[in-house]
Symmetry: C2
Subunit: 272 residues, 2 copies
């Protein structure tokens, strides 16, 4: 499969994996965002992935293209964080190349990224002074000559997806390694997801509900991994509390992408 298709298949496999506590999966929709919205995004984003694969545009323009293509449904932003990881990995064809691509991002990439951001309703910290709805932010980027890497670095302390840009895609790599060493195909996605959930506070949860909710989620995930709490019950509890580990889902997509590119066989078990 070509890189664009691996990205699409990674998005599809991630959202179908069940049970993923608190997130949309094949057994759960949110009121306003359904399994079908995530899958429509996976289908409709393709031209942007092809643009990235063929090097026809810069990273900021690619991200903006993907957001525009997938904003046609009413399910809201489904994959903004995933795009932030998939595009460098596609353009660089792996982690080493992605780091080069990231180092070479420009002010134009930063401006296009802000335009993409403005098309979504991505959760931001209130303290961010690079507010996408503030026209002065764009002026600030121009005046300071900030690149997209600068912008992402700025958000990295409070955003685990942005941190992947500066830490060698450490967590994406962990997911990929987990999948590549697992004997049983797609079922390993859920366990890879849990391996992040029990060890990393999800920064999307922190932004939405605070650090305590993220710590609670980690502790519960540890109980599930130790076999003293049922994954399905944890799932229901997360849904009730509005806890959805969205950043870990984004990183899981990037990890699946890497694994697929490196030969992982998602079909290797014959039963779901």
């Amino acid at each position: 499969m070509r890189r664009s298709e691996c990205a699409q298949i990674a998005m599809m496999l991630e959202v179908c994996a069940y049970p993923k506590p608190g997130n949309v999966d094949r057994c759960h929709d949110y009121d306003d965002t359904w399994l079908e919205h995530f899958l429509a995004s996976a289908i409709l984003a393709r031209p942007a992935f092809v643009t990235a694969e063929t090097g026809a545009a810069g990273m900021g323009a690619c991200i903006k293209e993907a957001v525009s293509l997938t904003a046609v449904h009413r399910g809201g932003n489904t994959h903004f964080g995933a795009y932030l990881l998939l595009f460098p990995l596609i353009m660089g064809d792996g982690i080493a190349g992605a780091q080069t691509v990231i180092a070479e991002t420009t002010t134009d990439d930063a401006l296009r990224f802000y335009e993409a951001f403005a098309l979504t309703e991505v959760r931001m910290n209130k303290t961010d002074d690079l507010d996408v709805n503030d026209p002065e932010s764009a002026q600030h980027i121009r005046d300071e000559g900030l690149t997209l890497r600068d912008i992402i670095s700025y958000s990295a302390p409070g955003d685990m997806v942005c941190r992947e840009w500066s830490n060698g895609f450490a967590l994406s790599r962990r997911v990929a390694d987990y999948l590549l060493s697992a004997p049983n195909g797609k079922q390993a996605i859920v366990r890879a997801f849990f391996s992040l959930l029990e060890s990393e506070p999800d920064t999307f949860i922190i932004k939405k509900l605070g650090r305590e909710a993220a710590e609670w989620t980690m502790a519960r995930a540890q109980e599930v991994c130790r076999g003293i709490y049922a994954a399905e019950e944890f799932d229901e509890e997360c849904l009730e509390r509005g806890i959805n580990p969205g950043s870990i889902a984004d990183i899981t997509i990037a990890g699946i992408y890497l694994a697929l590119r490196e030969g992982w066989d998602w079909e290797s078990c014959r039963r779901a």
Copy 2:
């Protein structure tokens, strides 16, 4: 959305719809064919739909391209019947145009179709003397100058998908009209599916298990529609008996495609 994307979204919406008795849906996999296989096909078939949309190749070549692109996974043939309906509808941009395209199919289309067929494990009647595994069939097609329409007409008496080619896509149209008149988006897909299931014996079931099984399925579907039998229970019973109404699923995809092209809003209800 462009025609190719409507075809992909139709394939995605159909397989996700739940409960669809006996078929793969978001809550059920078969042992060897999973939700993810159907969705991978919806993602990977795109270049063939684009070929059809742009008129870059004939119908037989398009069908063969779609089958080749989606034969990369091990889920087997997922959409052969659907392709047989989607390609004329894409190439002709609707039913009237599809009928023209069908009337203009050639012997080359027939030969490419046979090559596509040979890549799959599509269920055939044992009595078919145009056996795809028989090299003499291709020679027979050439000698007689048979077109793809001739081949499909030959199968029409025992195959409701093939019948669509000669009856003005009557059942696909019925599904589309049902969806276009329904108030509540994607949930209407299940009811459209049932409206065929209770009134038409599925020819895939007949080929696999015989007419009695198809009649039983219709009778049960009527009970569900009258509210005296639970759809979920019917679903489990079909799965146990190995009854899967695959032809009605193919026609449902074609109906969703038509409805999407005619402005149907699959998102119009806000809750699954």
